[in-house]
Every structure is written in structure tokens, then in C-alpha cells.
Symmetry: C2
Subunit: 465 residues, 2 copies
């Protein structure tokens, strides 16, 4: 009896041990297997650099590719070809009508200090109307950001040019936070100034970089408010102008732009897929935007995001990973000045009853990735967080709750997880919407780490959801 009891105790302990240890061992083994596969994703991206070479092609051959331009049409063809080449089993274009704003050729700006003419660098904001033929000259009222204009009256502003000189606040660690607090002067400056009778607007570029590049970007008009032209000037020119205005408040600023809005143009989102082997109707999406502002090559914004997305398909193919769910890359058109591609895709997905498990947007540059932000329910977020130690091993463990991106926002309510890739943000706004957003500003390894980060998240969602 005693022996038997003892034997039962031993057996019970052994059983308990097995019951506890087995799942732990299985989890550990699984963790190791995932770790090995993810390391392969990173190594393959870093060694082969195919996303980087795609980006070179996109920047060199499509270049500045604002919606509606021949360059944007060229970008559609390049993305289509690469998706096929990278191994997507289905590639198609989704038609979408896009706005067609053109900058024109004239962009001249100066002020007079005594009899000396001081040229300043200016570029029209995207969507601005032209100045009257020959340009516009007016006295200048300096305003520190959009909120500050509430301290001025029609008497101060009428017939004058408003100079929005609100800087990005440097104390934020995340530059996107500083951008969020400052970009309103670009979007709404012309409307608010026009309400008080201003004849034109000039804004300080939304960047922390101290240089001579004007940074463009979209601006809004309202049919109930008079439309006035709006330009951005560089931070160095903004500082000079501000200094000069203190000495000479009646200084006149001149500028001349000849941009215009043409009729809408037929364009395309480009979609590529690897069909899921088990749940082909479950879609896991990764995407960025194909269009870019017309001042440069849109290497970081958002050639990098397209490169990341295309690389996800290529890396899976290269490593022989057959996803259970459908991996879909969407290269959205017209993020910068209309979001027509996003709207189109969102409507189509809804009408078609597409089941999106996750949509990952990458539109924050080709810098070293740090993690992801998630817009999802508590249960899904908790589940994602179980991957944090694994992601941490690869330097992408910064998991936060937060916004995802403008292009996938239309899927909200029809997609379990919306999320955004978070690369290091320090240098992003140095290049954002300016002439220095060129291929050479992208580091091959930093870009490819982003590709591997996207592939890692999609792999985990595909495998464990």
C-alpha cells in the first residue's frame, strides 16, 4: 500500500510536471522556431536589399509623382511589374479618379530691405491657387501658428499677407508629435487668414531642419471663404524675414506662383497578393502610397513604404513561406492630396465584404524601425503584446496603442487590427515634402530593416490569428 501510495504520488507529480512542462516546452520550441524564421527574414532583407533596388528604380524612373502626373502613371507601372517579379500570384490595378494639381514653372519670392532685394526660397502649397498674373506684393503680418491668428482682427490683416511662423516644437522626442502640433497652419492658414481679409499667405516650412528647403504639403480651401494663394518658405528664410520685420514692420513681400488645378485624371491603386492556402478569404494587408509630392523623388515619403510592402511578398516567396491567409499589398494612389485611392479601396472592400484581419500602413520613412502602433480592441492588443519579447529581440519591440495611417483609416470597423510601422522619427521631417527627399537620403540597411519588420508582423498574424 505504502509503495503504491508513494508510486501514485510520484506518478501524480510526474503527470503534473508533464502537464505544466509540456506546453511550456512547446511554446519555447515554437518561440525558437519563430525566432529562427524571423532572423531569416531580417538576414535575407539585409543581404539581398531588393527593396532598396526597387526604391532606386522608383526614384530614378518615376521620380516626382504627384497624383495625375505622367510620373504617377509611371510609378503605377513600376509597382505592377515589381509585384509580379517579386512573386505575387495575383496583381491588378484598381481604377480611381484623382485630382490633378500642377505647380507650374514660376516660384519667385523676395522682400526689399531699403533698396536691397532679398530673395527668399518659396514653393506653392499643394492645391494653392496662383497669384494674380505677375505676382502679389503686400505688407506682412507675422503670426505664430494658427491659434495665434485669433489675437488679430480684420483691421490688422485686411489687404495684407499673413506670415504663419509657428515652429515645430523641438522638446518632443517623437517628431510626429511636434508635427501634429504645427501642421494646422499649413492646412488651414489660408482659410483663417482670408476670413480676416488677407490677400495671401506664406508659412514657415513644417520642419525642424535649419536649411533652405521649402516644404510643401496639402492645404485646404472652403467654398464659403475667398481663396487666396499660399506658399511655404524655408526655415532660414522664415527666420530672416521675421528678423527683418522687427526692424521694418511695413516691409513688403512679393511672390509669384502660377500653379493650377486641372480636371481629374484616371489613375490606379496597385494590388498584389499571395493567396492564402487555408483561409484565402482572410486578408492581411500591408501598404503605403505610390504618389509623392512633386518637389523631389518621394524616397522616404512614401517610396520607402512601397518598398517595405513589396519586400514582404518577396521575402515570403524567397524563404518559401506559404501563408495560410491572403497577404495583400496595396500601393495606394493620392494619399498626399485627396486620399482618393484610400477611399476607393475602403468602399470596394466594404461592398465586396472583404474580411481584413490586419492592415499595416508604412508611411513614416525608411529609417530604422522601432515598433508598431495598434488601433484595435483590448483582447487583440493583449494578444499582440504576447509577441513583444520576440519583437524586442529584433529591435522592433516598441508596441503602443495609437493611430495607424490615413490610407487604411477607411477600413476602420471592417478590420480587426489597424496598425502603423514606427521607424525612428528624428530625420523624417528634414526631408518631408521637400526637394531633399531623394533616394540618396535613404540608408539601405535602415530601409531593409523596415521591410523585415513588416514581414515579421504579417508572419506572426498569419500564423497565430
Amino acid at each position: 500500500m505504502k509503495r503504491n501510495t508513494y508510486g501514485w504520488v510520484v506518478h501524480r507529480r510526474l503527470l503534473l510536471f508533464i502537464l505544466i512542462q509540456l506546453p511550456i516546452s512547446l511554446i519555447q520550441a515554437q518561440h525558437r522556431a519563430d525566432s529562427i524564421f524571423i532572423q531569416k527574414l531580417f538576414s535575407t532583407a539585409l543581404v539581398q536589399k531588393q527593396g532598396y533596388y526597387f526604391l532606386k528604380d522608383l526614384c530614378n524612373h518615376a521620380g516626382p509623382r504627384i497624383s495625375g502626373s505622367p510620373e504617377a502613371a509611371k510609378a503605377v507601372e513600376i509597382a505592377y511589374d515589381y509585384l509580379k517579379r517579386f512573386g505575387a500570384d495575383t496583381v491588378y490595378k484598381q481604377e480611381v479618379m484623382v485630382p490633378h494639381w500642377v505647380r507650374g514653372k514660376v516660384h519667385e519670392g523676395y522682400y526689399l530691405s531699403g533698396k536691397t532685394k532679398h530673395t527668399i526660397q518659396i514653393e506653392a502649397l499643394g492645391g494653392s491657387i496662383a497669384t494674380p498674373h505677375g505676382g502679389i506684393a503686400a505688407e506682412v503680418v507675422e503670426v505664430k501658428g494658427l491659434k495665434d491668428i485669433k489675437n488679430f482682427t480684420e483691421k490688422d490683416i485686411k489687404g495684407r499677407m499673413v506670415f504663419f511662423n509657428g515652429p515645430m516644437e523641438e522638446e518632443h522626442i517623437q517628431t510626429f508629435k511636434a508635427y501634429g502640433g504645427c501642421v494646422s497652419q499649413r492646412w488651414a492658414g489660408a482659410m483663417e487668414a482670408a476670413k480676416l481679409g488677407a490677400v495671401a499667405v506664406i508659412i514657415r516650412s513644417v520642419t525642424m531642419s535649419v536649411d533652405y528647403y521649402p516644404h510643401t504639403g496639402s492645404m485646404g480651401y472652403n467654398d464659403t471663404i475667398k481663396k487666396i494663394p499660399a506658399v511655404a518658405t524655408s526655415t532660414i528664410d522664415a527666420d530672416r524675414l521675421s528678423k527683418e520685420l522687427k526692424k521694418n514692420p511695413s516691409l513688403k513681400l512679393f511672390y509669384n506662383i502660377d500653379c493650377k488645378t486641372l480636371p481629374d485624371v484616371l489613375s490606379h491603386n496597385v494590388v498584389g497578393e499571395i493567396k492564402g492556402s487555408v483561409y484565402p478569404n482572410d486578408v492581411i494587408l500591408v501598404g503605403g502610397h505610390l504618389d509623392a509630392w512633386d518637389l523631389a523623388e518621394g524616397a522616404h515619403d512614401d517610396g520607402a513604404g512601397i518598398a517595405h510592402s513589396l519586400e514582404v511578398i518577396r521575402l515570403f516567396k524567397e524563404l518559401g513561406y506559404q501563408p495560410k491567409r491572403t497577404i495583400r499589398v496595396v500601393c495606394f494612389m493620392n494619399e498626399e492630396n485627396g486620399l482618393r485611392g484610400a477611399i476607393k479601396y475602403g468602399e470596394w472592400a466594404k461592398t465586396n465584404g472583404e474580411t481584413h484581419i490586419l492592415a499595416l500602413e508604412t508611411d513614416a520613412g525608411g529609417f530604422t524601425p522601432r515598433g508598431f502602433s495598434f488601433d484595435t480592441d483590448d483582447k487583440s492588443y493583449a494578444f499582440i503584446n504576447t509577441w513583444q519579447p520576440l519583437l524586442h529581440q529584433f529591435g522592433i519591440g516598441e508596441i503602443t496603442r495609437g493611430g495607424s495611417g490615413a490610407d487604411i483609416n477607411r477600413l476602420k470597423g471592417n478590420c480587426t487590427i489597424l496598425c502603423g510601422l514606427h521607424p525612428d522619427s528624428q530625420r523624417y521631417f528634414d526631408h518631408h515634402h521637400a526637394a531633399n527627399d531623394v533616394f540618396e537620403a535613404v540608408h539601405p540597411r535602415e530601409l531593409e530593416l523596415g521591410s523585415a519588420a513588416c514581414a515579421t508582423l504579417l508572419y506572426l498574424v498569419d500564423k497565430y490569428w
Copy 2:
């Protein structure tokens, strides 16, 4: 009785609640207070950028500052002045004799393909002897890294030049790991080649960057082995040479360098302190190295580390933080080719019975910081890890066990915690020891985030140790 018993139960529960909740509340309040102070460290560094302006001075006015040079002496004066200006209450120079190697003026390299002369970019490795007057020409044996030379015999090598063409392995996420696997050809290549009768050595630059910059760095000789000259060539030239050798194995390579080693020179470590208000004998150290290779300004290597260290003192002063323990900045001399400053400081600290709680070395560039590696006992490491969530908030939560740095290594055994700052490593070796390690390659915000990261760690150690 019943009421009393019930009352006791209630009181006991209340007491239990208080006993559990009070420390939690206190910890939370403390965590909030720390979080607020650390945010101030970051904001102040990012807005004021004084470390960045110091770095500009160091790069512009001391420039290339190899040990023993007038530029290194100038760097000593600049660091001394800034430590005073930044608020150290004690600043002094610590005498140390340093090696004095000079590159000379000649650095010419070419090979002949048929009758066409192909120039290649070369620079002497630090410490190399000169070629015979007029240069050296020899047939070339290509070897893939140091291990590969074991596949060759004296018959293959004798009278020839060995071309070590081992690349940095790109599959590693951390570039320092790839460096560690490749740098041996630079350090030991000349010795191993000379053993087999080689007349000279040329190595592929230890970088992943595809460009025309030769990257120098220290090399070793051994008195029992014949000394032969050694140079680095750029990665582009290394690839061209390798390709050419496949077509023409009897190709002759010529190079000419006139470097030499002069007698040792008196130089200095520079030390600055804020004396501790409670435990002045407990030292918390942060440092980097003042010397830099002579090809460029040593902005990332290691002007950035000196800037970080000086900023710690300035930030504490600026924010009125009075440390309990002594905060000591050490600007080490001669890290690159001798470690004499490190040896001197280590010996002095031992002789003087200095109590070091923590020594933090920052010598991995001025890029966005990610975390720290710690070389310490289990208990201390566990304690440091309790700060991880707080550090994570500021993007510096990557806490690992590992090496610290060459300059503080001499304190091992006499310092509770040795640690190293880990910035993002992707771009470091693009600039390392090459002519493009210039001030303009440092991003002001990335640099200052590093300053704030160092200040954060020192603050936590000072407050909670």
C-alpha cells in the same frame, strides 16, 4: 463581541490595504516624479543643443586629433574650457604619455591592367611602418579574412602582397557584431601575412558602405615577426581589385606611404566633476575619448561621446539637480591607438582607492540611442531592470548584458557597474575611421537624445543606488 470581531476584520482589511497600497502609491508617485524630471532632461537637451554646439567647436577647431598631435592638445583645451563653462565644480588634467604616430603626406596606390594605370584609394593603417622609399610593388594574393590565410602556405605568399578582402557580414542586425567578426584582418593581418613571407598588406575597409573612403584603424606588430607596411583600401576599390585579379592573377599592385612613429608625447585625460552632496566619495562616471583618427574630424568617433558626457554635467546644472554622489566626466586620451589614458586613469583610481558605482562609456556614435548594455553582477542587473519601463518611455529601454567599452574596462573589479550606451548602429561604420566622419554627419537631435539618455541613467543611479 461580534461587532468587535467584525470591526477587527474591517480594520485588518483596511490595514492590509494600506500596507499594500501605500508603497504602490509611493512608487507610482516616484515613478511620475522621475518621469517628469527625465522628460525635462530630454526637452532641455533637444531645445538647447549645447552638446551639438560643443561638437561643432571640437570638430572645427581641433579637427583630426590623433594622440600626440597639436590637434589633440587643442582638444584637451577645448574639453577643459567646456567642462568649466558647463558648470563642473572641479576640472583637471591628468598627465599621460601617449604614442605619436604620423601618417606623413604620401598615400599613392595603383595597379596596372595591361598598360592602363588604375588608381586605388589607400590610407595607411594606424601604426604601420612606411614602405621602402619610393613605394612597394608586388604580386597580390587575395585572402578572405584572417581565418582564410590558414589555407595558404609560404610558397603562395612569399615575396607577395596579401590582400585581405573579408567583408563585414551584412546579415547581422547589429553592425558591431559584423565588425567584431571582421576587424581581426586589420589588427593581425600584417603579422599573419609576414609569418608567411609577405612584403606588404592591403585590407578591405571594415565597413558595409559601398564608397571610395579607406577606413583606417589600429593594427598590431610583434617584435618576433618582421614588420611590413599595411594599408586599407575602399570597398569599391577592393571589389575592383578582386575582379581584376580573377582576370589577371599576376597583376602587380603598387603603393607608397611614408608614415612613422615618433617618440611618445605628454598628453592628458580631462576630468570634470560635480561633487556629491551626500556621498562625495562615491563616483558615477561617464566618458568617451578625446582623440580621433587623423583622416577626419572624429565627429561620431568619438566627439559624440565627449559631447554626451559634457552634456550630463550641463543638464544637471541647468535643471538644478544636485547629485548625492560625485558625477565625474572623463575625456580619455588615446583610445584609438594605445589606451594609455584608460590605463592611466585605471591605475590612478586603483591607487587612490576611488569607489566607482557606475562607469558609462559612450563610444558608439551620435545616433538615436536605443538602450544600454551592462557588465555587472546579477543583483545589480536585476535592480537596473526595474527601471526598464521608465527607460522604455523615452526610447532607451533596450537593456542587455554585455560589454561596456575599452576606456572603462580597466575599472573592472573596482566598479560595481560597467556599461555602454547603445545608439542605433546602422550608420556607424559608414563613417568609422574615415574621412567622412565629420560634424555634418551628426544629426543634432540624434546626438542630444544620446546626451539625455546618459544623463537619465546617471540620475537614476545617483538617486536610487
